[in-house]
Symmetry: C2
Subunit: 186 residues, 2 copies
């Protein structure tokens, strides 16, 4: 199963304004990660975090990947990473477990095969949009943070004017965040 | 207390694409109101609906007001309606309990006075944004519907790049919707 994991402000932003390589979360965007202070506790935020860490492969977009300094080659537990990009430079050998893929469907197939019976994590707005457009995401795990950022990069953007129906799977209120999980109806 | 009541898709839209006087919710936007089928039951959706209906005054923006055919002069229970607009035509006498106001702070003051010890309902993206910018909204009651609309009119848009901190008040999952209530931290 392919699951999107993202922290999002209530107004839909996953990065603050003016994000760049030097300020990868944009101005103030790290506000979205306060709830991770509870990742090692025993509440819902720890549960959601642990589920993400238990995924067996990652799909991310190129911007997220670069802004995250390529996760130094290891997003978590050394799982295979499939980086969606428009252009592959043959001289660019990505570190660690990463490989570049230009087609979302190919990334999904490779990641599912690599993850085996574990889930695949999707991370980043670009990858989310590319996979949603192709109907390749099975569930959404959105950590909706108690803040309006006002500006920044939106998680849901550049999608066609077509319904994507969802089913509620789970709602977990926690300190500073509400974890909302949905199944994509296909 | 001034409370924003809005139904919103998970991707942040309160109206579908291409809204107009003839199609006031845009294409497919009435999808956001399916949960109102439960408004007369005894579950959370009925509770949230009843709370909205118990408000003692309304603030809405001009677009919402016109697209709703001016609510034929009565949004609910004949409560006073304050319509935010940039321009008042002296020949335009609004029906029923409506009056035009050009200043958000004045609309807030008039509506609070009119509502007495009841809450004030704010409705519509334009009014929400105008009042949020001025710090005039106390709580948000967002009915987050299980759908991505992809395009349309966003509830949270045109806001400055400044944090608005929120506190969780209540999370009520219901059929096809999750009712999220927040307090605006001032």
């Amino acid at each position: 199963m392919i699951v999107l994991y993202m922290s999002m402000s209530l107004d839909g932003f996953v990065v603050g304004p003016d994000d760049s390589f030097d300020e990868p979360m944009g101005r103030g965007g790290f506000r979205l990660f306060n709830w991770l202070d509870d990742r090692n506790g025993d509440g819902p935020s720890a549960q959601v975090y642990a589920e993400g860490q238990a995924t067996g492969a990652l799909i991310a977009g190129r911007r997220t990947y670069e802004h995250a300094r390529r996760w130094q080659g290891d997003h978590h537990d050394g799982v295979p990473m499939f980086i969606l990009t428009r252009h592959v430079d043959p001289d660019d050998v990505p570190p660690g477990t990463a490989q570049y893929v230009t087609d979302p469907a190919e990334a999904a197939a490779l990641a599912k095969a690599a993850a085996g019976d574990r889930n695949v994590m999707v991370h980043g707005a670009g990858a989310a949009q590319a996979l949603l457009r192709e109907g390749l995401i099975d569930e959404l795990e959105l950590s909706v943070v108690n803040v309006l950022l006002g500006r920044g990069r939106r998680l849901f953007d550049n999608l066609p004017a077509e319904y994507i129906e969802l089913e509620q799977v789970r709602q977990l209120p926690a300190r500073d965040v509400t974890h909302l999980r949905y199944k994509v109806v296909k």
